[in-house]
């Protein structure tokens, strides 16, 4: 199959992204004329009344775009860094580490007084888990690829259990449990500029770092030894990329909550469309991640699906894709063995 060049795909994707972004801004219960008039009044300083466009839809859009791009890029980077098609922040337990730290912040009640503790905790938890999984998977200075996924699953199971135990212990504090359940489900409802402020700086730094190192990511995907052979300062670049992944994961966790499997699935879909080159993959993941996430959010709003959060939908769709991917990789191993 001949893959379309990334350059021919980008304009189409950017156009689609603009359309869905406009959809996010325009679609809502309040009539657009009314929204626009009051927004103009706010901007001209005539009124300071709450406005659906400026106070709800715009921050929501920024959060959605940042989250989609962050998760897709962090998944692509981890798959290349760990030389493993099944790697992603969620599969390796990195999101669970960040999530546990955020739960601790909620339990201690720090989030009400100091909201910026949330992204700091999410980033710290994500980075600590990433380093922990990475160090456990290394043997004799080299990465054991099969061990990596198993370690990730073991660590995430442990972290989820600690989180579940914490929530069970606090089951009588129903207001706390409700806010934690909403946060864990991964929701884009009621996002405000506070969420943008928590996420945007982390996302911008993380995406810039990954894009800057897109060439190195290509070489690292050949394996550590090959990357070193070709001139990559492997330890330095890997450490910086770990920081970027933790920033992206932490930002998404802080603003939206847990979004499972999105980071695993998106890079595979993009590779399927345009081929495996990471230098194009990073750019395309930024656009397609933002596009897919905003489209998913818009569809949920349009069809008024209130029972499910965007995190639930992503987990269900991604889980199905993950099973398909596992079956495909298993059959390819069988072919190799034969």
């Amino acid at each position: 199959m001949i893959k379309p060049a990334a350059s021919s795909l980008k304009p189409f994707l950017i156009f689609a992204l603009i359309l869905t972004s406009l959809g996010t801004l325009l679609y809502g219960a309040t009539p657009w004329n009314q929204v626009w008039t009051s927004a103009l009044e706010r901007l001209q300083g005539i009124s300071d009344a709450w406005n659906p466009l400026l106070d709800e839809r715009l921050p929501r859009l920024v959060v959605i775009l940042c989250t989609g791009a962050s998760l897709a890029v962090s998944g692509a980077v981890m798959q290349a860094l760990f030389n493993n098609a099944l790697a992603s922040p969620n599969v390796l337990g990195i999101s669970c580490g960040g999530s546990l730290c955020v739960v601790i912040v909620f339990v201690l009640g720090l989030h009400e007084q100091y909201p910026f503790v949330i992204p700091a905790a999410a980033f710290t938890g994500s980075l600590a888990t990433l380093l922990f999984v990475y160090s456990l998977s290394r043997n004799n200075g080299s990465m054991e690829l099969n061990t990596l996924i198993l370690t990730g699953i073991a660590v995430s199971t442990l972290l989820i259990s600690i989180q579940a135990a914490t929530m069970y212990a606090l089951r009588d504090h129903w207001m706390l449990i409700q806010s934690l359940t909403e946060w864990e489900a991964g929701s884009t409802c009621d996002r405000s500029w506070r969420h943008v402020h928590m996420q945007l700086p982390l996302t911008l730094i993380g995406l810039s770092g990954c894009w800057h190192y897109r060439g190195e990511i290509d070489l690292l995907a050949l394996g550590e030894e090959e990357a070193r052979n070709l001139g990559v300062e492997v330890e330095q670049v890997r450490w910086r990329l770990f920081l970027c992944v933790a920033l992206l994961t932490g930002g998404a966790l802080a603003a939206v909550g847990l979004i499972a499997f999105f980071g695993l699935v998106l890079p595979h879909l993009v590779r399927y469309i345009q081929g495996p080159s990471n230098r194009q993959l990073i750019t395309l993941c930024i656009v397609t991640g933002a596009l897919s996430f905003s489209l998913m959010d818009l569809l949920l709003r349009f069809f008024e699906v209130h029972a499910l959060s965007i995190g639930n939908v992503s987990a269900i769709l991604g889980g199905i894709f993950f099973i398909i991917l596992l079956r495909r990789s298993r059959s390819s191993y069988v072919e190799k063995a034969a």
Partner: protein, 247 residues
């Protein structure tokens, strides 16, 4: 302009992989490293390329230690052609070859349309493979692509880990002829091989490794005898005579 190792040793998990290796590889010589499986040939190449660090000892080139050389500079000086294995992400051949320019330009893809890339692929008879995916190639084709990538680095020292393994006889001869041309142009070429016929036909200097130790290193004519080969591979001389022809 020698590449030299001084008392090079590598210990991992308490196991001695290489012990006290002191060698000199000169320009104008075709260096072959011979030894049975597990003797430390590939390990020695990894140390020479700076991919692994030795436990003790040093490597010098032009009298300077390679230890503290920045990675890109080291890559421009020494490049390793690994044994070709499939990779996780199925890149195009032209991408893989262009990656050889990374040490000069991080945006290596700018070299995809360069004359250098065409020259490198033509040199290994792989120009027609440039739009193919790397994992779809045969072992031998991949081997040639990796040699083309090493040519892109323009490094004066080329290390090759069993470069003729998996190649048909025509491509074996072509690759060996290419390596001879590179040596004539002043490159230091060091290859490991299990093929005694190739080593005897093309190399001028041989190094024998066994269980991580150097049994000998020197000119092919004086070192490669029935006795040394029988000793190296733990074979009886009779069995060696029956199966291998020496000059």
């Amino acid at each position: 302009m020698n590449l030299e190792t001084h008392a090079l040793s590598l210990v991992r998990d308490g196991k001695i992989l290489l012990a006290d290796i002191s060698l000199a590889f000169s320009q104008g010589e075709f260096n072959a490293i011979l030894g049975p499986n597990g003797s430390g040939k590939s390990t020695l190449l990894r140390l020479l390329a700076g991919i692994w660090l030795p436990t003790s000892g040093s490597i010098t080139w032009k009298g300077l230690s390679l230890k503290n050389l920045p990675r890109k500079e080291l890559s421009r000086a020494i490049t390793l052609v690994p044994q070709s294995a499939p990779i996780t992400f199925n890149y195009l051949v032209e991408d893989v070859v262009a990656m050889g320019r990374y040490s000069y330009e991080p945006h290596y893809w700018n070299s995809i349309d360069s004359p250098l890339l065409e020259e490198a692929l033509q040199a290994v008879d792989a120009w027609h493979l440039r739009h193919r995916k790397i994992n779809e190639l045969s072992y031998g084709e991949r081997q040639r692509v990796y040699i083309a990538r090493a040519l892109m680095t323009e490094s004066p020292i080329m290390l090759l880990d069993e470069p003729t393994a998996g190649l048909d006889i025509r491509h074996q001869i072509e690759i060996m002829a290419l390596l001879q041309r590179l040596i004539a142009k002043g490159k230091i070429v060091i290859m490991t091989t299990h093929d005694l016929a190739i080593a005897e036909r093309y190399s001028t200097q041989v190094t024998f490794l066994k269980q991580g130790r150097c049994l000998g290193s020197g000119p092919l004519e004086t070192l490669m005898t029935e006795e040394t080969i029988a000793d190296l591979y733990d074979m009886g001389k009779a069995s060696l005579k029956e199966n291998i022809c020496f000059r």
